[in-house]
């Protein structure tokens, strides 16, 4: 067996046990009496792109800065590629952490040209190595001919790509991006975003991407971590966190969501105002509610129906109908643009999850 041979290359088993690029345990950070980061544990696998999403002030940027060593946690432990860089009594300075940083502001050194900006992080390498690495990363960001340009001669998108190239050049253990597209104008944004993801994939980098934009978070990340008031509320694939949120906060931060009270009707069925559906959930609390996103619900025109159309929003590819239920609760249904239902129409609403619905305890009144 090859694994028993003493001189066997340790490649295969090593890959299995390769430590995560970033591992956080019990990170706490307080500013005065407020706890900005509250006991966060998180890991980013090697080569993984993890997005961290949450409203502003939820502690996501603080977390990023602590990983980079720009800020010291009050408690906890940080390991980068298995190497402890922060512990109870110790902190490695940022320059020795092997972390790449891209901020939302333009942080290219204005007095250095593109070549020298990228070469800044390649100290201690021979002239030839520097030249070839600079050429390599510039090729990666598709700005090969921009060597001699100065930052003020570049467009906003080009600057961010050079910043990315500069951060990637020293082959950091992990790349930390803090809202890197926030300052770009909206038209440019999606284009640069697409290019960035492509570059990161090609580079095979491990990435932590911080954003407040849930669409950006879900479209970029291998996994999405949702953060709220200092805690990581849920981590999972974009699909999981979107469809199966574990809390109302997560449900609401990733998209529009409505909650309707449910009753159990036996044989694996639950019942709510918008109809009946299958669920194997256990009704534990007194009051439980089912999450309904606009695409989880549909209706048909029915003069005897209990719902009433009270709002119409035309969105191009589809139409959002606001429907009022007998209880007075309202929810929105997303239907194809081919539907044409006038205001005030009586409709019969029905659930169309297409997957296990999410049932969560009702908010305490």
């Amino acid at each position: 067996m090859s694994t028993r041979e003493p001189l066997a290359p340790p490649r295969a088993p090593d890959q299995q046990t390769q430590p995560p690029a970033v591992e956080l345990n019990g990170i706490v950070k307080r500013f005065g009496s407020t706890t900005a980061v509250d006991n966060v544990a998180l890991s980013i696998e090697s080569g993984e792109l993890l997005t961290l999403v949450g409203p502003s002030g939820c502690g996501k940027s603080t977390l990023l800065r602590m990983i980079a060593g720009l800020m010291q946690p009050d408690a906890g432990e940080i390991l980068l590629a298995g190497r402890p860089v922060f512990g109870p009594s110790a902190s490695v300075p940022p320059e020795d952490r092997s972390v790449g940083l891209v901020f939302q502001e333009n942080t290219l050194f204005p007095h250095l040209n593109v070549r020298d900006n990228i070469a800044f992080g390649l100290k201690g390498k021979s002239r030839r190595q520097v030249a070839s690495r600079v050429a390599e990363v510039l090729e990666l960001v598709e700005l090969g001919s921009f060597l001699k340009r100065f930052p003020h001669e570049l467009s906003g998108g080009e600057r961010q790509r050079v910043a990315l190239a500069r951060a990637l050049a020293p082959e950091p253990t992990v790349l930390l991006l803090d809202e890197p597209f926030a300052n770009l104008d909206p038209n440019l944004r999606s284009q640069v975003r697409g290019q960035t993801v492509e570059i990161l994939r090609r580079a095979g980098a491990s990435v932590l991407f911080v954003t407040h934009d849930q669409l950006e978070a879900m479209s970029l990340g291998d996994r999405v971590a949702v953060m709220g008031s200092g805690r990581v509320e849920q981590i999972g694939s974009p699909k999981t966190v979107f469809h199966l949120p574990t809390s109302r906060f997560v449900a609401a931060s990733l998209g529009e969501a409505y909650f309707l009270p449910v009753t159990l009707c036996g044989n694996g069925q639950i019942d709510c105002e918008a109809g009946r559906c299958a669920s194997d959930c256990q009704l534990t609390g007194d009051r439980m509610e089912i999450m309904v996103r606009p695409h989880d619900v549909t209706f048909r025109v029915d003069p005897a129906g209990s719902g009433r159309v009270v709002g119409i929003e035309f969105q191009g590819a589809h139409i959002l109908y606001q429907v009022q239920l007998p209880s007075g609760r309202r929810l929105r249904c997303q239907l194809p643009h081919t539907t044409d239902v006038p205001l005030g129409t009586a409709v019969a609403v029905q659930l169309a999850h297409g997957h296990e619905p999410v049932v969560l305890p009702a908010r305490a009144e």
Partner: protein, 565 residues
């Protein structure tokens, strides 16, 4: 144990070491800057009874009286001149107003010790005015004595009023506008609104300017010696240069320090609860009232008269003397080179220390570092004689320490060395460097520093490769401002100058003291020309609409920010 842990310990130690090293650097600079004030403060708290009783029975009562009287007269003089001119050019419109607005800063370029001797030469007993009067009315014509407290106060007021003018003008123009408009809408006339609203709103700024003037008056002794006025600062000079009595000199210097503290306390008192308003975004300036006919020409004539007396006439007189004297003499060049050497030395010291302090604030951002970095600039509020005698005592103590350690540097450190003068200059002008360079570094976003560090650069490399190139303009301006202030500085070099090392101002002062006005003219013109550079910078920044504090022309000008925040 994994090998990673070992390297972690090494890295952690190094990280802490760099932070501590930056903090230690600031601590050392703060200590060096504070030491002269501390030793003088020490002698204030530990008075020697026999020295004081001797001083009291001889010169002290007269000195105290002269000092208080001079301060009061200069206060009144600059308040009227500075405040009045500020109101005139901001509140009214008359021919030449725009030009006067910036020209009224020009008197700052003539140091008191130059204006003083020109004044003496023209109005003194041998001067043309008194000569003409004697010719006309006979030898017994009554003329006021020029060599008097009044003469000294007039000269100091004429050379210092632009401080009050600058601050008052900015406050009147930019801060009082809304208040003025409300007052007018409530039925007050132009003057009534000025008295009820504009003046109270400008008061904190006017008081700040007057505080600056008081501190500069305390620093000066070279000018008032022309006028035979014996202030406490003059006392420090006479006691030290006449008797080399270190004890008495430090006791008197502590008295000067007490006066400075009193001035600062008075400033707080006069400002009352009012706060110095920061810019309120709005760029609207006070509406002016147009003057017509005789009143307009009276306003123009007033400005012309002030400018003529305080700037143009003295400069013309000096140019005339320099021209009839003709040519350069070798003495001039040797004194000039001494002055330039000293200015370069002081500017370099200040720039290096300021670069250290501002970078430390960036790399080791903690409260103690911030506090210590603020302590490095206390010299701005210390009168020159206090710093000079303080430096003397510190270096003497150092000398004693070295010889007790068996290292003999006979006489080198105490007097007769350039080190002492450069040290005193650096302490006095430190605020210009630290505030200027720190403001420049503030414009480099923190993210840039952080990016550089995460790319593997240690703080020293970040400073060298990123901070220095990006702040080089700020550093150059700080070097220039400190250099020119050092070039024209007189009181400290008079107290501390090494034997045989005379600067241009010292040379001018000695010639002027011997009534050799014409010989002193060339040097004076040189000093004024150099002093015009910061004045021009100031004027430019004024016309660009910045606050005057952005570009202080003297270390005392930095007081504004500190006294008022």
């Amino acid at each position: 144990m994994r090998p990673a842990t070992n390297s972690l310990e090494k890295l952690v130690k190094r990280g802490h070491r760099t932070e501590r090293a930056w903090a230690a650097l600031v601590a050392v600079i703060a200590l060096v800057c504070l030491a002269p004030a501390v030793v003088i403060g020490w002698s204030l708290l530990n008075p020697t009874a026999e020295v004081w009783s001797h001083l009291w029975s001889t010169v002290l009562p007269g000195m105290l009286w002269s000092t208080v009287a001079l301060l009061v007269l200069v206060f009144v003089g600059t308040a009227i001149l500075g405040g009045g001119m500020a109101w005139l050019v901001s509140g009214y419109n008359f021919p030449g107003r725009k030009a006067f607005t910036w020209m009224l800063v020009l008197p700052l370029a003539i140091p008191g010790y130059i204006l003083g001797f020109v004044f003496m030469s023209v109005f003194g007993f041998t001067g043309p005015i008194q000569g003409t009067l004697r010719d006309l009315f006979g030898p017994d014509v009554p003329v006021p004595e020029v060599r008097s407290l009044w003469g000294a106060a007039l000269v100091l007021s004429l050379s210092l009023f632009p401080y009050v003018y600058l601050l008052g003008r900015a406050a009147i123009r930019e801060q009082a506008t809304t208040g003025y408009e409300v007052a007018r809408s409530l039925g007050y006339g132009h003057l009534a609104a000025a008295r009820k609203v504009v003046l109270p709103m400008a008061r904190p700024s006017l008081v700040a300017g007057l505080t600056l003037v008081m501190l500069e008056t305390l620093t000066d002794f070279a000018t008032v010696i022309y006028f035979n006025v014996q202030t406490v600062s003059v006392g420090v000079y006479r006691v030290w240069k006449g008797m080399f009595d270190r004890q008495a000199a430090s006791e008197l210097a502590s008295l000067v320090l007490l006066f400075a503290l009193a001035v600062l306390a008075l400033e707080r008192l006069m400002r009352g609860r009012a706060r110095y308003e920061q810019h309120t975004g709005s760029r609207r300036v006070l509406p002016t009232k147009a003057l017509y006919g005789a009143r307009a020409w009276a306003a123009t004539a007033t400005c012309c008269a002030v400018l003529t007396v305080a700037f143009f006439a003295p400069v013309a007189q000096l140019l005339y003397w320099a021209a009839i004297r003709g040519g350069f003499e070798s003495d001039y060049f040797s004194y000039l080179s001494n002055s330039v050497t000293l200015a370069l030395l002081a500017a370099t010291l200040v720039a290096l220390a300021s670069i250290g302090v501002s970078n430390a604030r960036r790399f080791s951002p903690s409260r103690p570092v911030r506090v210590m970095s603020q302590l490095t600039v206390v010299g701005y509020a210390l009168p020159g004689p206090v710093i000079a005698i303080g430096v003397l005592l510190v270096l003497a103590a150092l000398d004693g320490l070295l010889s007790s350690l068996g290292i003999e540097v006979p006489g080198l450190l105490i007097t007769g060395s350039l080190v002492g003068v450069a040290y005193a200059y650096a302490v006095r002008f430190m605020a210009l460097g630290v505030n200027g360079i720190d403001a420049s570094l503030q414009k480099v976003p923190m993210e840039l520093t952080l990016s550089a560090r995460s790319l593997g650069a240690k703080p020293l490399r970040v400073m060298r490769k990123i901070h220095l190139p990006m702040t080089k303009t700020g550093i150059a301006v700080a070097l220039l401002l400190v250099g020119i202030d050092a070039l024209k500085e007189l009181p400290m070099v008079l107290l501390l100058r090494p034997f045989g090392f005379d600067t241009l101002p010292v040379w001018i002062w000695q010639l002027a003291s011997q009534s050799r006005w014409e010989d002193a003219a060339l040097g004076s013109v040189t000093i004024i020309a150099a002093s015009l550079v910061p004045v021009a910078l100031l004027t430019r920044s004024l016309s660009a609409g910045d606050r005057p504090e952005d570009l202080p022309t003297s270390p005392a000008a930095v007081t504004l920010e500190h006294v008022n925040t």
